[in-house]
């Protein structure tokens, strides 16, 4: 153990009474702070969401008034139907494309990103600084669209789904590597050594020993990258042009123009494309909770 500021575990010499969860002080904390937090959250987070919901339920004329009011004609369902039917059900195609894109690229990002982060953190060579810089540059430098198209065309991957998947992987690697690398340092090397002694090769060491311990950060990466890929509009617009390759964010453009924007349909679309991500988050929310209660098993 090299941490100097962590208190060294030792047998209790006196029963600790401060800070233990239980008793009236804890109950006050649980419910009092909880209620306060819920109220604050309603004001800060739920109110804007309410605006989106209300506007999505308005008719076009009222939506362009931009007022926070109850819809004169409550037509949420009609708006949803209209949005889904726009341009020959392009929203359905967009959903399918976005789901496929997100699923494949996020899986690859988790696997590839963690592999790189693992070796990067564990094995420090003279190249480590350069690699760190390259990873960082991926976060800082925006992608160069036209040269990337040229590269894709060279490989015959332009305007194809696999090409777009590879592009999303390339642009998302930096974030994944950064996050994984930061958390791999919390896994003690003794585990590696023990596994190697047991005869584990690098693949088994990584996938069976290390990766399971990275559950919380894996969940985080999956969640964040899914959101990023699902909500991306620039890459699909340029690298998979055409209606067959539409993704969900691009459908928002269906309702915006210089002369006329259908704000009610726009917000309905925003709601519709936010819901899958919200469901994903709620699902993974449980994973985080599971991580909290079972605790990371170390040493």
């Amino acid at each position: 153990m090299s941490a100097t500021t962590t208190p060294v575990p030792r047998t209790a010499s006196a029963p600790g009474s401060g800070g233990r969860v239980g008793g009236s002080r804890a109950a006050l904390y649980r419910y009092g702070v909880g209620t306060l937090a819920v109220v604050a959250s309603v004001v800060v987070f739920v109110v804007p969401f309410a605006f989106i919901l209300l506007t999505a339920a308005m008719d076009a004329t009222q939506a362009s008034e931009f007022s926070f009011a109850w819809p004169r004609n409550f037509q949420l369902w009609e708006n949803v139907v209209e949005v889904v039917q726009t341009r020959d059900y392009i929203l359905v195609i967009a959903f399918i494309n976005s789901v496929v894109l997100t699923l494949v690229s996020v899986t690859a990002l988790v696997v590839l990103g963690s592999m790189v982060a693992f070796v990067l953190q564990r094995r420090v060579t003279r190249w480590t600084g350069a690699i760190n810089f390259l990873v960082l540059s991926g976060l800082i430098m925006p992608p160069a669209i036209v040269p990337t198209i040229w590269v894709l065309q060279r490989f015959g991957l332009f305007a194809t789904m696999p090409g777009l998947i590879l592009v999303e992987i390339a642009f998302g690697l930096s974030f994944s590597i950064l996050l994984f690398r930061a958390f791999i340092s919390t896994i003690p090397r003794e585990l590696d050594e023990a596994a190697v002694l047991d005869g584990a090769g690098p693949l088994r060491l990584f996938f069976r020993v290390v990766l399971p311990l990275l559950r919380p950060v894996m969940v985080t990466v999956v969640l964040v990258q899914s959101v990023a890929v699902f909500n991306d509009f620039q890459n699909p617009l340029y690298f998979l042009p055409g209606d067959a390759g539409a993704t969900v964010q691009l459908t928002l453009f269906n309702f915006q123009s210089q002369n006329l924007s259908s704000y009610n349909l726009l917000f309905t679309d925003i709601l519709l494309i936010t819901i899958p991500m919200l469901l994903l988050f709620l699902f993974f929310n449980r994973q985080i909770v599971a991580g909290l209660t079972s605790g990371a098993v170390k040493g």
Partner: protein, 440 residues
């Protein structure tokens, strides 16, 4: 130590990586409701993805396919605004543009390297197009596009009821404009509506004034392109900037000018809480959507200069439809037929059925229907009386990117007109150099 089983994960991963691309390939076929006509040609038309653009294009395509049963036209969508422009340039550059697309005419047309990227058109396609339109879609004497839509004007939309109530007439000089505004303000109505949450609307005072500049100095556009004329040192040209400042300084703007959007401005105009709204006549569509009951009450007049005799409209040419150079063979023939259709009276009719005309058509034989809004009728009058000339962007490729921000500053009182004009002159230098113009 708990070890979770790994093999299902590998299996799942492999499955996804195989299924993914396959599913991606087949998803595209879900939405196509058109069937391939046996033996016919199919071409693709890239147009705006927003509702208005799609509805208009669909109307034209429906009429065209009726007249040409062996050709099918599919529509592809691009985002409105700047993102769509970038997409057009990118697709042209990478050789991935669909057969047909619509885009701006004038200086923006010149920027997409037409000679390299577009297919030239002959008389059979453009025969019916008005001569005045050709310079906007040609390089030397080769024509590349046909007009899509109607011409429109940049001037002032005004509430006729308010004018009638206050006994005002349409101003033909700036002095009249200002005195009218004084009367309107005294009546408790905002004389001039400004909507700076949509920054582009702030440019109208400057851009819509060009007819008055050209009336006094006919060669101004050429001089400007050659860096022989500039706004800051030329009081006639700077008048547009100055007018904007004068309107702000006199307090003639609506109180919430900084936080209103286009739609809010239209509503104020329709309700009569604002009397005049410097605007493009093409935005009658916004009015029709926001306040359809007030369309009959709104008229249009050109921005006045100093001289009533030379008062006239600054006109914008419509966008044009082009054919990509990569289109060949049967697709090229079919595309030419489509363009010829658009530039014909039948095409105008189809256009007018989906999208209200906002000015005159530039195709011979296309007449405006009788039930167009008063705004359109007023614009047409200027064309009929030949009291119009093109906006600067159609006579000179020089236009800086920051004009709308500068005009917002002037209209908000943050910057003076003189400073703003000088700043804009600096701004256009970049554009001129980018285009490789001589003299800059």
């Amino acid at each position: 130590m708990k070890l979770s089983t790994r093999s299902p994960r590998w299996l799942a991963l492999a499955a996804v990586l195989v299924v993914g691309p396959v599913a991606g390939c087949s998803a595209g076929s879900l939405g196509s409701s058109e069937e391939e006509s046996g033996g016919g040609t199919t071409i693709t038309w890239l147009t705006g993805v927003d509702e208005t653009a799609q509805a208009t294009a669909e109307a034209i395509v429906a009429a065209f396919e009726d007249a040409n049963p062996d050709i099918t036209v599919k529509l592809d969508g691009k985002p409105a605004g700047g993102e769509g422009d970038n997409l057009v340039k990118t697709r042209l550059q990478t050789g991935t543009m669909p057969d047909v697309f619509d885009y701006n005419s004038g200086s923006l047309f010149q920027q997409i390297a037409p000679a390299n990227n577009l297919a030239p058109l002959d008389d059979s396609v453009v025969g019916a197009v008005d001569d005045t339109f050709f310079p906007q879609v040609s390089v030397d004497s080769t024509v590349y596009g046909v007009p899509y839509g109607t011409a429109f004007g940049g001037g002032v939309m005004y509430n006729k009821k308010v004018f009638d109530q206050l006994g005002l007439t349409v101003p033909t000089t700036w002095a009249e404009f200002m005195s009218n505004s004084e009367v309107i303000k005294a009546a408790g109505i905002a004389p001039v509506i400004q909507t700076y949450q949509d920054t582009w609307t702030s440019q109208l005072f400057v851009l819509g004034d060009f007819h008055n500049v050209a009336a006094v100095q006919p060669t101004w556009a050429e001089d400007y392109t050659a860096n022989q004329a500039e706004y800051a040192t030329d009081p006639v040209a700077m008048a547009g900037f100055q007018h904007l400042q004068d309107v702000h300084d006199a307090g003639y703007e609506n109180a919430d000018y900084a936080s209103t959007k286009l739609e809010d401005g239209m509503r104020q105009l329709a309700a009569g809480t604002g009397a005049m709204y410097p605007m493009l006549s093409a935005n009658i569509t916004t009015l029709q959507s926001v306040a359809p009951e007030a369309v009959a009450d709104i008229g249009f007049f050109a921005l006045p200069g100093d001289d009533a005799a030379s008062n006239g409209l600054t006109a914008w040419f419509p966008n044009a439809v082009y054919i990509a150079k990569t289109t060949e063979g049967e697709a090229l023939e079919a595309s030419k037929k489509l363009l010829a259709f658009i530039a014909s009276p039948e095409g105008c009719e189809a256009f007018g059925s989906a999208s209200d005309p906002t000015g005159p058509y530039l195709v011979e034989g296309c007449e405006l229907p009788a039930d167009v809004p008063p705004v359109t009728k007023d614009v047409q009058t200027y064309f009929d009386e030949d009291k119009q000339s093109p906006a600067l962007e159609f006579l000179s490729p020089v236009k800086g990117p920051n004009l709308e921000q500068i005009t917002v500053e002037i209209g908000s009182g943050i910057r003076s007109a003189a400073d703003g004009a000088a700043l804009y002159d600096e701004d256009v230098e970049k554009q001129a150099q980018q285009l490789g113009l001589e003299g800059w």
